[in-house]
Symmetry: C2
Subunit: 384 residues, 2 copies
Amino acid sequence: MKNKIIGYYNTKFGELWDKSLEDLIKESIFNIFKDTGIVQQEVDAVFFGNMLGGIVENRLLTSGMISEMLDMHIPIYRLEAACASGGMAFQMANEYLKQHPDSTILVIGAEKMSDVSTEDVTRGLSAASSAEEQTAGLTFPGLYGMMAQVYMNKYGYHEEHLAYISVKNHYHGSLNDKAHFRKVITVDTVLKSPYVAYPLKVLNSSAISDGAAAVLLTNKPAVIKKSKYAVDILSSNLASDTLSLKNRKQLDGLEATQIASKTAFQEAGLHPNDIHIAEVHDCFSIAEIMAMEDLGFWKKGEGGEKAKALATQLGSHEKLVVNTSGGLKAAGHPVGATGVKQIGEVFLQLTGQAEKRSVRNAKYGLAHNVGGSGAVAIVTILGV
Amino acid sequence: MKNKIIGYYNTKFGELWDKSLEDLIKESIFNIFKDTGIVQQEVDAVFFGNMLGGIVENRLLTSGMISEMLDMHIPIYRLEAACASGGMAFQMANEYLKQHPDSTILVIGAEKMSDVSTEDVTRGLSAASSAEEQTAGLTFPGLYGMMAQVYMNKYGYHEEHLAYISVKNHYHGSLNDKAHFRKVITVDTVLKSPYVAYPLKVLNSSAISDGAAAVLLTNKPAVIKKSKYAVDILSSNLASDTLSLKNRKQLDGLEATQIASKTAFQEAGLHPNDIHIAEVHDCFSIAEIMAMEDLGFWKKGEGGEKAKALATQLGSHEKLVVNTSGGLKAAGHPVGATGVKQIGEVFLQLTGQAEKRSVRNAKYGLAHNVGGSGAVAIVTILGV
């Protein structure tokens, strides 16, 4: 029996000052049970993705925290891959499930980033770059800023092209009541926002958010039969790359995405043209443009032009709609939760549950999650 | 083809002031390749266990660091489960390998704990207990001290009984040139050392160490054929429990160990009587006594007596020898490395490579790794 996703829940993303990491995990667990009708005793294992819990809230060995919530002794694993912690947890859960027939697995991603020490968060995020980059003071905006410069110089694009990515994603976020930012913005607003790291501005950057997301996976026929929704996991692949930008073969794209994507499409027996809906990793606007090219949706170098045409916005004449959740930019980026939320958004779209932001007749969807400046990428393809 | 271990390397454990986490990982990777003759291009995936890298050295997304060392894009995963990070990485690698025929996997555990901020290390270790325990100031010696009191009161034992565990493990450590502590100690020395948390003394407690350990797993016939050594992985099981001590059903044993052990013996088709050599998790002396009972080697309550008889010391008349590496007490406890080192020590014993501490004709061995105060336990059984 193929692995399937049968349920999804995410908390509101945003500055949730009244909620700890533990609260966020608990909310996502008990609501996904409530929504799906699955009871916890039906779960055979849990995979949890989180980046900063140890640094910002002194929470490690979170598998024990989850065991305590569930009052169960089942295997529970924590995976960490910076902003790809959620995607890695999902990808590993899918591999594990292939080896365990008749099983049901809970995947959770969560992150607490606001109302803790800003210094801890900034330092913690920078832990996902090389020792040399850290010493040089290169935080993520700086690393993506360098990639943006290479890309823009090579293909002749300007800050305006980047701005359209944020405009589109904020429009989508305005339709998602779980999103951190729900305000529609204009190109002008983006261009007038201050620089974070040239050429990237505040409104080209994802924000610091709190949130959790959970999906239920199963290959158990009886569970699938009683589930209201079921989406096939056609493939979920992971590729690695160097931590250091200076040791990469290219700076206008991420090789980890290219490799994971190629394998994922082969395994699914699909082509980028077959995809109707995608959630791609837009930690900065340039990241979405590079991702669209690396995933094979756009040709190398045409990303700026496509972005300006709002080619992947809801209602565009083109087939593929991208980041209907609002993406990392507008939905928010609680780092450990993001990879799971992306998969959850595709699940919602493929099962007709995406409400105002629904893409009609979507049959195939893709989720793309990146760790750090590209040291890891996970590409997951789902279908109904 | 059954999963097999074909190689093991560990760095010296100790206060390695001239080595970073990155140095330790690199040393273990390139030496295991040298020792086994396996070249890195033959490796299909890496599983890495580490607890404190984010907190003490600002190193997260370590999969990227390892990808950079290997110059490869293969899947690399980081798992964290406090002191069981290495055991969890191994257990997950073994599950993954079952699903991937003709594959070879590298498992690494590493931890850097000395020559960094002691405050960071103490705070980081405490992150593996519940929020309430942290607020109460209950660090690990305190939690294990409470368990020791319950155990000793219930079965009528004294500090002297605990001391023999350290005496035995230091004797074994004196025979292991990779061990942190190589000095033979007496019961008197242990009893005269100061209390850390009543009734546990300094010499009942594992120390802060640096170190890394790596094992190579394979199910590829061609690789097994050319390997000098090959040990069967008969089972590797993991069970969870509550983070909070107050929510446990028992305090004189760890339920996670009992469950993981029962399943591991069933899967291996063996009985505790069949085991010749075991590495068990002796973070504090009481932990080894409880582990021996939880694993089914000793009856509940006879642990103190058995400890005093040095029943599991090399040269004892009994069949089972325990913690020939020196255990966490004498070999050292670089937390992420420990679970891998335990499995590696069993591998060395089963392949006749344990030199001065060799157990003759050992056919079956067991490794037992615990996270925190017992929120997770992994039991692995190997055979030749």
